[in-house]
Symmetry: C2
Subunit: 420 residues, 2 copies
């Protein structure tokens, strides 16, 4: 089964026209993407920035191998968590001195939620989204257990209503701007206002937002934020996470993982913990410098990039994806998941299909890389720094071919016979 | 001022003879040390193993750049924390399935001490060494505060006496085999027995032991252990740490940083935390893969290496250092810090001198790298995998020259005039 040429031709012409007019198109050269691959999984692991391999070689051979221990000073390893933090802060609307890079999102969440609870004593509730990424829910449960509090799972849409009733009992609300499964973008300013009006603290998990769309932490008066370095920031597998602590909260930011790197005099080696001034107190132990320097090099891909243009292109890519899907996947059993309204869309498009798993495998065999989330979601992320409209069309066209040619059935059969 | 040639000649002859008979001498080729440097700071940052640069290049270019997201399966990134954990376990006397690599020592300490407190409910005391590395003390204080317990700082030597009186009230004792300042090696078997006889749990911080001397965790029946990857394991700056949980404690190991990587079905994405079976439950968030793979490559430097031979050579090196110091530094104002008895010595030699700081700087300018710990300790670590007796003699000889020529005074003057 093939698609009428005129339909494809029209989509191809539109893709070409959009790509030709794309002011961000030259950024693709800042990434090393393998030949023949359409990479729509940058929302899970960002592609390799071209700046990383030489930076890593230098970090390993010269900084570690030759300069050895003195690199902590001479190559400014010691300052890396705050330096990289500020570089991330620049992309999420945070003035310098409020963001620290290091550890994993889970660890940062643990410290941030615990500190939030201490900033709001006497309030027994932690709020989170029942659709939140699991680790956010697990950590909320764990922090609640430690402090004798209670977690309430309130969908983002129901938050204003809940807060009107119970807001005075809420210590902190931890949500994500973008639903990691559906790609829905929530109302970040409205939610922040509603939570703060109730006297609670707003914690945003920016894993699916940082580097994908403008986040105006300072402007919105957000209290706390965390996020990972390996999705749209393209910092490498398991790249260090980050934590944002609004300046006004720093002096009272009292977190439980009091590692020596957060001490006011880390080399004074005193037996009692006195936190550093500023966001540096949120540092924990010795950070994984190689991964941190890879992230730092990766962030140079954003140099001179206007996040408003990134957002505009991202919406153009996801909107075009939806148009292609409407045209090419009609009648093939796909369900629509991601909102159509641009203001409610993150930087991914999600489709529903009962054969999602096998389809994603069959697509990967063709060089189109997306991923799936159980039980039936196909997820395609677009990173506006390196994805083109032509690639989006190519992905949808190949998904159509996989489906109409029954390749996913073959894939499913192969999986059944090879996986025990 | 020069030293009589016969004295130096005798020491040089002994160094040559010891090096010639050294069965570990060929291991030096497994490290890339810069020319003209005597590196006695491997107890702070291990030297670069030759296996690391190609492994890093492969991890960056092929695994991340080309294989992209599928590396989690195809290049076994997902298994790395347990695989690297087992490789470390092999060096510390832990059978497979009890050690996990990841995060920092501070984070691992936090999880381990918290879990220990939950394993010993009703016991209000946490013990630690007043001479313990600061982060161990800070984290103990923080855990005690969270759980409403009390930290008692008891010197390792006074532990048996304290336990005889108060042992029934102790939940966990966290100590280090080696004093990071003095280089003194404590009685690991005796302390472990005394703590456990009191019904408490024994947690060892192996930062200054792993890779430096045999640690027999399983044989001694140790309960918990942590350690870093960047000292004698030479895993790179800020290399991931490790956590050992004895098999018998794993089913009840209930730690507070419940990240999604420790879930029994991490990709089931359920909203409630069910810990994985085994030590895998101690995994937290997504680990920094580049740093983790650097550590894994570094550990290949230990392949086929008998830790008993490492210990024997380490003692030979530190003993020879002490002999050289006795001969060459006599009358120059140095105080002895590290014990003379081999059984009470870790893998470093520490000297006391009021001008320690300037001396270490002046030595570094000559290519002899040690470090200092305030206020007056000069610290020289020996890694038996890449340090020779000739280098030890060279270091002490140069320290003599620095002192007798007054180079440290010049260094001190320079520091005073350049540091504001």
């Amino acid at each position: 089964m093939t698609t009428a040429t005129p339909v494809l031709d029209a989509l191809a012409a539109r893709a070409t026209s959009l790509d030709d007019a794309d002011p961000l198109a030259p950024l693709r050269e800042r990434f090393l993407l393998p030949e023949g691959v359409v990479y729509l999984d940058g929302n899970s692991l960002g592609a390799l920035p071209a700046a990383v391999p030489p930076a890593m070689a230098d970090a390993v051979r010269r900084q570690w191998g030759t300069d050895l221990i003195r690199s902590w000073n001479d190559n400014a390893w010691w300052q890396a968590p705050l330096r990289v933090g500020d570089a991330i802060g620049h992309l999420i609307g945070a003035a310098p001195g409020q963001t620290v890079a290091g550890d994993s999102t889970s660890v940062q969440l643990f410290n941030a939620l615990s500190a939030a609870v201490r900033l709001r004593p006497g309030r027994p509730l932690l709020l989170t989204d029942p659709a939140h990424f699991p680790t956010d829910q697990y950590i909320a449960d764990s922090v609640a257990r430690l402090f004798g509090l209670e977690v309430r799972r309130i969908p983002a849409a129901g938050l204003p209503g809940f807060l009107a009733e119970e807001g005075h009992r809420v210590a902190v609300a931890g949500y994500s701007p973008v639903d990691y499964r559906t790609g829905e973008l929530h109302d970040v300013p409205g939610t922040t206002r509603a939570v703060q009006r109730a006297g609670a603290l707003m914690l945003w998990d920016l894993c699916h937002a940082a580097g994908a769309l403008p986040v105006r932490l300072d402007e919105l008066g957000v209290d706390l934020a965390v996020g990972c370095g390996y999705k749209y920031l393209s910092g490498g597998p398991g790249a260090p996470a980050f934590l944002y602590v609004a300046e006004r909260h720093q002096a009272a930011f009292d977190h439980p993982i009091t590692g020596w790197n957060g001490h006011s005099e880390p080399f004074g080696l005193s037996g009692g913990y006195t936190p550093a001034e500023g966001v540096g107190r949120a540092r924990i132990g010795t950070p994984p410098i190689l991964s941190l320097l890879a992230l730092e090099a990766a962030l140079t891909a954003f140099e001179g990039v206007d996040m408003e243009l990134v957002r505009a292109k991202s919406l153009s890519l996801t909107g075009f994806f939806q148009d292609c899907a409407d045209t090419l996947l009609a009648g093939l059993g796909f369900g629509d998941v991601t909102p159509r309204e641009p203001g409610r869309r993150g930087s991914q498009v999600v489709l529903r299909h009962p054969e999602a798993y096998a389809m994603v495998q069959a697509l990967a065999a063709r060089g189109v890389v997306g991923d799936m989330r159980a039980p039936d979601l196909l997820r395609f992320g677009v990173n506006a720094l390196y994805i083109s409209h032509r690639e989006v069309l190519d992905a949808v066209r190949q998904l159509r071919e996989v489906t109409t040619d029954g390749e996913h059935w073959q894939e499913r059969f192969r999986l059944r016979t090879t996986v025990t």
